[in-house]
Point group: C2
Chain length 334, copies 2
């Protein structure tokens, strides 16, 4: 492998000059630059990324921490991240956490200078200890769909989404509207449901009575969604519509409803959440969450933060959108 010295020798210049050419410094005469570039070409030289990292003191790596339940949206978010990185030379190191203990381990491990230049935490609670360690190592992080007062975060207004989903159902004529919610952080039983507040506000605003049994908190999986809708449908006065806080759960709801002989949307209206390929294909009416955008914007924020470390944290929400498809209709019974 040729090194920068070989190039310098071949071009008859010093290594400093080669380095300048490599890094696009303007302090090189056109003639010299040409000579150096020719030499680079001729030798097929490529600067060693690892020596470069050592010299510059940064890795050109971003670490993405993501929970294992992210099945449905991982790829979309990664695409967004790649979008933001397309003309930088950052690469993405990915780590998946399957439970709280693993999440903790990742938080621990990524807080070492020289491992990555920045961290993107997706859909997981950031602990104070983590943020402290981040500070101690003067590393930077951005949250995607999660919150921490001392960290920049990019997300979506779940409560607003819940309100709009609810009001859409109410507008269709539904009077008994259930909620199958999921926790902010699936690993952390202490976190509240993501839509709870919005749902309750919407109920109040619409003037409906708040029925505690209509609110369910479930794991973000199809089977948990199925169990939740089963419970809901066994009530004396079951809901005629249900707002579901994840598409995974919505799929379970659809299946369970069918299995008990209900037709969707005639007997039960369902609003999903996220707009994954599957629910799109199944024709589920859903709250669209701009996953790819989320990934892009979060990464852009992280890049800004790396460039301008003094920036103070801010929280930004991207708009969601109700995608009307085929799982909602006016109620047939009242």
């Amino acid at each position: 492998m040729p090194t920068i010295m070989d190039v310098a020798r071949a071009a008859g210049v010093g290594i400093g000059t080669v380095s300048r050419v490599l890094n696009g410094s303007r302090l090189v005469s056109p003639a010299t630059r040409q000579r150096v570039q020719d030499a680079i070409q001729r030798l097929g030289y490529q600067p060693s990324p690892i020596a470069r990292a050592f010299g510059r003191g940064r890795t050109d790596k971003l670490e993405v921490l993501i929970p294992a339940f992210a099945h449905a949206f991982l790829l979309e978010i990664l695409l967004g991240i790649q979008d933001a990185l397309s003309d930088s030379d950052y690469a993405v190191v990915i780590r998946i956490a399957s439970d709280a203990a693993e999440r903790e381990r990742l938080y621990q491990e990524c807080c070492v200078r020289g491992r990555a230049d920045g961290v993107l935490v997706v859909w997981m609670t950031a602990t104070d200890a983590f943020v402290d360690r981040l500070d101690a190592e003067s590393l930077h992080a951005v949250l995607l769909n999660a919150l921490h007062p001392r960290l920049t975060s990019i997300g979506v207004d779940h409560d607003d989404a819940a309100v709009r989903a609810f009001e859409y159902c109410a507008g269709l004529g539904h009077r008994r509207i259930g909620l199958i919610d999921r926790r902010q952080d699936p690993f952390d039983p202490a976190t509240p449901g993501i839509c709870q507040r919005g749902y309750e506000n919407a109920v109040a605003h619409t003037g409906y009575a708040l029925v505690a049994e209509y609110e369910r908190l479930a794991e973000p999986s199809a089977s948990a969604g199925a169990a939740a809708i089963d419970a809901l449908l066994e009530l004396a006065e079951p809901p005629t519509a249900v707002v579901v806080a994840s598409d995974a759960q919505a799929i379970g709801v659809l299946e369970a409803a069918r299995a008990t002989g209900r037709r969707v949307p005639e007997d039960l209206s369902v609003v999903g959440y996220n707009d994954t390929p599957v629910t799109r294909d199944l024709g589920v009416t859903t709250m669209y969450v701009p996953l790819r955008e989320l990934g892009r914007v979060a990464t852009e924020s992280l890049l800004e933060l790396l460039a301008e470390p003094a920036t103070s944290p801010r929280a930004r929400n991207l708009p969601t959108e109700l995608l009307v498809r085929r799982t909602c209709a006016p109620p047939t019974v009242r």
Copy 2:
């Protein structure tokens, strides 16, 4: 940040000794080791990964190249990769290719020494040019669910899977069994269907007539699957069962069948492929593909290759398994 020198000073030893302790060399007396470890503890020292990489000449990074259609199985494969890496200190750099041009770019970019120690190509055709470049840089790669004569590959016997799916349907009494196949490489129109040969063998073996119209090649998406089944069902003698080469397509088949008033499995039996969370939840009878295992074994192979670069390439298939659920039944018409 403390460096190895600070530790050496604090422990009253040379940096060589600290390095040896760090790397678990046995050539350190217990007493010295203890002293060094205390100093490390006291100073909160952590070796700089980037300096370490520089010194050792390797990155401790594995690059994973994966196509953007991998929605359904990306996470599962990544979990398998992480399994294999759990007690090494390799990290995973991920790159997604959305089309053939991007795939080519990734192939180009990952062939630079110092970017990663090894490459794992998932579900994409490896071009000869890529393998040549790999050789030129003496880098190592393993293929997951793809083939190249000069590369080790871990996969699954699609043809065998097709045979078994077909024979299961035949055993149920179906005489007209269709195939909705997909290409080996979705980016490469030149690649054949993954199940074609197996399907044709099964037809021959069962003694059925080979009906060309029963074989469809479609994109691995639900909408393409839906279009394919629509075409199949419009035939004068439509199939009563269909073997589908991906779960994404199977979901589309299910939806399209329902949309045209068919019941599954009464009017149409469907066998899917892969066993993704969604098809599991939908109760789709499917060929289980051990995705996580695939990720793990492929990564282990790559690790072995890195440790023992002389190893000659081999192709290994992991067994698939028919998971009988609720989308197949004996035909009601003949």
